[in-house]
Amino acid sequence: MWLAAPDALAGDLTVVSWGGAYTKSQVEAYHKPWMARTGHRILSEDYNGGVSEIKSQVLAGNVTWDVIDLDSAEGLLACDEGLLEEIDSSILPPAPDGTPAEQDFFEGGIGSCMIGTVVGAMVFAYDQSRLSPGPTTIRDFFDLEKFPGRRGLRRSPKINLEMALAADGVPLDQVYAVLATAEGVDRAFARLDGIKDQVVWWEAGAQPPQLLADGEVVMSTAYNGRIFNAYALEGRSLAIVWDAQILDFGNWAIVKGAPNLELALDFIRFASMPENMAAQVSWISYAPARRSALEMVGTYHANPELDMISHLPTSPDNMKTAIWQDTEFWADHLDELNERFNAWLVGE
């Protein structure tokens, strides 16, 4: 479309990501050094998630995006639909000690169209100035007697059903097996019923820190990086509870028919070097997708006293109570459970 002529010149790589502090961390850790090394320019674009834009570009035969940062569920969907290039994982550099990339990435971090870049978590958080002593387990989140007050939850069946089952006593490693049964789904909704009339439903990732700061809710699920920003950068008294945190990868992918395929591959290879991944963590509290990078993690850019490791979802302590999001499960059941969830929302 000549109407939307991008100002990209030949040899300019377009990298699309989520914007804000997250894109900033990628610019500092990946874009700037890659540009200095290769002499090519990177055009950084923001988007709000979703795969409709890629689908439109591919269907129209007018692909302007090269590299895109996708969450695992949407990456899988786009890969299924043939909207992404396949990526040969042999381009990935090994760990410094020679461990091949396949073993160095966390399991599920390398897909046929996606290469994991960070591990982020959906956690729940509260305001320490309002709740003291604060909640410590996922049970507390669902316990209105012990902790009265409104709760913030994302308006989506994802995350909520898993956390509801965890609070109902399902062992963390069996959550998806239980959720795959009709009784399991009923059980999760029954648990959510218990707090339904106290829930404020949020939609955008920026909302939970705001809801907590305004005192609209006493606890809310949130992306761990957003809460970290609120306490480490803005000095708010928010705290994260890591119990039943749900982990997912942020992934690099290449749009099918990307104008700069070779450059895109080179960029992803560069961004997948453990030392570069570790550099990103100085800017945001999402963990690197490979284990060897975790050992090189340093301090926060705005506060050299602050060691990042304990603020990451994959730190040894926090990992003890983690659930890895099951992307295949959600690919199978999202439509069905989304209808059920919406029907449940409007019901009495």
Partner: protein
């Protein structure tokens, strides 16, 4: 004749533009709601077999053999993902059934019926095959059925959707309800403002018009967020109420993240669309008529109701239609301030457009919404006469 042709010639560029940039794309998109050949295109052996199979009898070995052949081929062509996604819409869990079977399909040996059932017991179930039969049809009522809470099965029957998954009709009804309420509020609030605007000296009118238009030039997101700051529990309005002792600190009103929030924010955002056509029409109403009514003995109310109001009906008509139709398509505002009972059908359409990539279902829902709005428009025309509508 020549003049008419010339007139037509002058409008041709606009018509051509509308046709190419609006009507054709909309039709093409809606077409997806009934036509989906994903399965038929990539599964060439099993499609004809499924078509001849009635959807009732026990699946035959020939069907299993055709499926095995297709799965091997689809995996080789890397089209298995598309097919699996299509099947999943008819059969939750069908995606992983397809992809995991396809991974091992090449190693299976005849008889395929036994081999497939052995691999995944789901292949022995009649519902699995009925779902495939629905997916294999190039022209399908399945999406339209889903969008009105019906389920189209492989044996050709249409039943109501499982009770726990019925959501669409509720949301269509709620969309109409919220849109109607927003329209009424806009009319009640906008009419006096438009009247004031049309009766002030030109200089003050311009200033006030800017105040009406100012929100117009502000991003919807900003306006919606501003309403959250005003209406929320610890927001400006509740703080004022508490400060003046209207309510206690622990009994603050919940005015946002529910239907109230949706109505307030949408009314504010759509208000200019009511005020502007009203103002345009009111400016043309001669003041002398109302004065004449007064001099003939009508009191203020009668003069307004019998003389002034009827002359502004064209503006009311335009404003009502404009606000109502715009309101039915809103989704950002309900998403942010709607909470659990402020959701509209457009939120679900948005979900299927952006998140689940189920464009055919989005198209089907869009079609139902379009028909619904056109029906209401027709009804409105019958009741009030669209030819009386005027934008100025």
């Amino acid at each position: 004749m020549v003049r008419r042709l010339r007139a037509l010639g002058l409008t041709m560029p606009l018509l051509a533009f509308l046709f190419a940039a609006f009507i054709i794309p909309v039709l093409v998109f809606l077409w997806q709601g009934v036509h989906d050949d994903t399965y038929a295109r990539y599964m060439s052996h099993s499609t004809p077999v499924l078509e001849t199979w009635g959807g009732v009898s026990e699946p035959t070995e020939a069907m299993y053999a055709a499926l095995q052949k297709d799965l091997v081929q689809a995996r080789k062509d890397k089209t298995i993902g598309k097919v699996a996604t299509r099947v999943n819409r008819e059969l939750p869990g069908g995606r992983s059934l397809f992809t995991s079977t396809a991974r091992r399909a090449a190693r299976l040996e005849a008889p395929y019926k036994e081999a497939l059932i052995d691999l995944k017991p789901a292949w022995g179930r009649l519902e699995t095959w009925q779902a495939l039969r629905v997916a294999a049809a190039r022209y399908t009522p399945a999406y339209l059925a889903t969008s009105v809470d019906l389920k189209y099965s492989g044996d050709g029957s249409i039943r109501r959707q499982d009770e726990k998954r019925r959501i669409h009709l509720t949301l269509f009804w709620r969309t109409i309800e919220i849109s109607a309420l927003v329209t009424i509020f806009c009319l009640l609030l906008g009419y006096p403002v438009a009247y004031l605007l049309s009766n002030l000296p030109q200089r003050s009118t311009n200033l006030l018009l800017i105040l009406v238009l100012l929100p117009f030039w502000t991003s919807i997101l900003v306006r919606t967020t501003a309403w959250i700051a005003i209406l929320q529990g610890n927001g400006v309005l509740n703080d004022l109420f508490v400060a003046f002792g209207v309510i206690g600190d622990d009994s603050r009103f919940s005015m946002v993240y529910n239907r109230t929030g949706t109505l307030v924010a949408m009314t504010h955002i759509l208000l200019p669309f009511m005020i502007l056509p009203l103002y345009a029409v009111m400016r043309t109403v001669p003041k002398a008529y109302v004065q004449a009514a007064h001099s003939l003995g009508a009191n203020g109310w009668v003069a307004f109701w019998r003389v002034y109001l009827p002359q502004t009906l064209p503006g009311i008509g335009a404003g009502v239609v404009l606000v109502f139709i715009l309101a039915t398509g809103y989704y950002i505002t309900p998403a942010l301030v709607g909470g659990q009972d402020g959701q509209m059908i457009s939120n679900l359409i948005d979900f299927h457009m952006r998140r689940s990539l189920n464009w055919p279902l989005a198209a089907a829902m869009g079609f139902v919404l379009l028909v619904l709005v056109m029906f209401l428009y027709w009804l409105y025309d019958r009741v009030s006469g669209i030819d009386r509508m005027r934008l100025g």
